[in-house]
Symmetry: C2
Subunit: 406 residues, 2 copies
């Protein structure tokens, strides 16, 4: 068994649930911080744990180039390599390769691309992308897809979608034949051994963050729905991806330049065609307002570089709106970044200090800004989950930015 | 009263003591991490507290340029500005200005220099350096001195020393006339108020890290001994600085390019002429071996950018010697950085991971490397203090690198 997904509460379209993986449980809807190169930029893993991160994302493309799949595999997989005992999801590399534009060439077989680091030539196919992701050993891995560019006409969108479907079938076939090769398999021990070690609290052994004794011992491969901005193609893509059969489904091909209303419309329309009992993952979104909104539509999982990338540019999300901490108006501001936020940064430092760090190009600016933005995103999702369980799914939407916390 | 220094144990020349300041007690001998621009680069303040940092150093030159003395003063001083409740020492700016080389011009009055940031022209005198340091409000501040260049002939060294002596007198005069202007004075409250707030543990009120209720309510100005590499001039500088009278004495003008044996010789010779009952501070040294060695000579305080700067270049201090983590030999090394170190980094991450972070230019490399190096320095001094108290001052010298911890 690889994962288990239980919906524990619903409120209109929104669902609050629990996703069990080989490396622990995840409360959904969940926001997954992006740890591109086996690090959520500037944040130590113990701080991520403290923030309550239950799952983070790694990028296969980046890890493939550096330090290389074999290095990670030989060290026991990504969990061991980056000393992260909780769940991990890797993307297939498809989106990253898609972003290379000039440097790639797509064929039925796969994608030839040049490394952004040194220009060296590489090739990803559904099979090699699966091989890479098995080597990395994330709990959830993604089918190799083509992210259709925007804008694209119907013929191009359909052709692209068809190829993604063929690639999905190839991804699944390779995965099923090779899933036993995941590097953390070797660390599995019979559950009796776990209980011996942990007699006083046997329930820890079965629900803890280690693969040992969780009862889930293989990775899960999720399918990806494409179809561009065409709702009929999205429907077709969803139905045919479901036919292939996956334990979870992602909506890909968004955040590629389309207007935000269009993103929402595609998500809402596509969700209708996805099974209610499986996790639904929208890739690469969004602002705090958007992730709360998409959760209300019934999305269970989201990831985005926005909180971490914006932090590096001094753009901070707060309960009172966005703050560009570089502005001179904060030079003498003794107040906290967000008076309604209880994170380590807001509890301790002033806007004046954060502004000084940013203006002085200090690394601590990135450390603290990232910590706050992640905290804000995770807190937003915590409130969303709480509201769904209370049956108040509309409250967190209208009140997210205007209401101070109790 | 400003500070109190008590020697609690000695072992040959070495002393273990306790320095009480308005912002808490410091166990000596102490290594003070450098927080140049109101931040120990890349390390959050709560982590510094966890590491056991009891005092850190701020650079007046850098803070004067950015964010500016008035900004810090208006926010209540450096402690409040950087949210650091424990002790702080600021340098006078003299050494930093000295490092500018082409950009400075020295006269009897003071030093005209150009900002390394924007080329703008500025002037530091003993008086303005005191004014700046009073505005920053560190617990311990330093007289404005001229750091004699290396090499320098006797005439030049003597002339430079004489000017430093005149500047020391001017520094003291200005400080005595203005020390009531320290910005944290305004936060003082009568001790009865403290006790009301903290009835259950009244001893906390008198020994805590807050200026409130510590009983020490003004800054302390330390004198600086110069005299280049000339031992007779060092003796004269020490004696005449003592004549002016300060609550603590620093040995400046070292680490300016001289051979390391010469540094040690100058320190040893100068210490002989410094009062035994006052703290003795050697500025800008050294490696872990050196700080342990200088402590054995009777030095109480040291600071150096080495642990933090080396960390940024991937150079790590361990019980098994220096490690250059960028080396390819660590690519697949699953072991901890230092098997004898109990810091957060060594407990959690492998050399392979640290190597990957460094090779990938990840900010977390700097965060973790700095954390380890600081931890190693602080741990070294902890062991030094422990050995002095046990009367085993020679043990930490011979055994520092070869002996695993018990």
């Amino acid at each position: 068994m690889s994962i288990d997904f239980r919906i524990e509460a619903t409120s209109k379209q929104a669902r609050a649930g629990r996703l069990s993986t080989p490396h622990g449980e995840i409360e959904t809807p969940v926001f997954m911080p992006v740890g591109t190169a086996a690090t959520v930029k500037s944040v130590p893993q113990d701080v991520l744990e403290e923030l309550g991160v239950q799952i983070l994302l790694g990028n296969t493309y980046h890890l493939y180039l550096r330090p290389g799949i074999e290095t990670v595999r030989n060290l026991g997989g990504l969990h061991t390599f980056m000393a992260w005992p909780r769940a991990i999801l890797t993307d297939s590399g498809g989106f990253q390769v898609f972003s290379l534009n000039e440097l790639r060439k797509v064929s039925e077989d796969g994608v030839t691309f040049r490394s952004h680091l040194d220009g060296s030539s590489h090739f990803f196919s559904p099979e090699s992308a699966m091989q890479a992701q098995i080597g990395l050993g994330a709990d959830i891995i993604m089918a190799f897809d083509e992210c259709t560019e925007y804008p694209a006409d119907r013929a191009r969108t359909q052709a692209s979608m068809e190829m993604t479907l063929r690639w999905a079938a190839r991804s699944k076939k390779y995965f099923e034949e090779h899933k036993q090769e995941v590097p953390w398999k070797q660390y599995s021990v019979p559950s009796t051994q776990c209980q011996e070690k942990d007699e006083a609290t046997p329930e820890t052994a079965s629900t803890g963050n280690s693969v040992l004794g969780t009862g889930y011992s293989t990775q899960s491969l999720f399918g990806i729905v494409q179809g561009g901005m065409d709702l009929a193609l999205r429907k077709e893509s969803a139905e045919r991806t479901i036919e292939i059969g996956f334990p979870g489904y992602a909506i890909g091909g968004l955040s590629v330049g389309e207007p935000r209303e269009r993103t929402r419309e595609v998500i809402e329309a596509t969700l209708e065609h996805l099974p209610k009992d499986k996790p639904r993952y929208v890739m690469g979104v969004g602002t705090p307002e958007e992730i709360a909104d998409y959760a209300s539509l019934g999305v269970d999982m989201m990831d985005c570089v926005l909180p971490t990338r914006a932090a590096r540019h001094g753009l901070l999300f707060t309960s009172e709106g966005k703050v560009s901490i570089k502005q001179a108006r904060y030079t003498n501001d003794a107040g906290p970044l967000d008076p309604n936020c209880g994170c380590r940064v807001c509890r301790r430092y002033s806007r004046a200090y954060l502004r000084h760090l940013y203006a002085s190009n200090e690394v601590l600016a990135q450390v603290l800004n990232t910590l706050h933005n992640l905290s804000f995103y995770l807190d937003t999702m915590r409130r969303v989950r709480h509201s769904i369980r209370l049956g108040e799914e509309s409250r967190f939407l209208s009140g997210l930015w205007s209401q101070p916390k109790p």
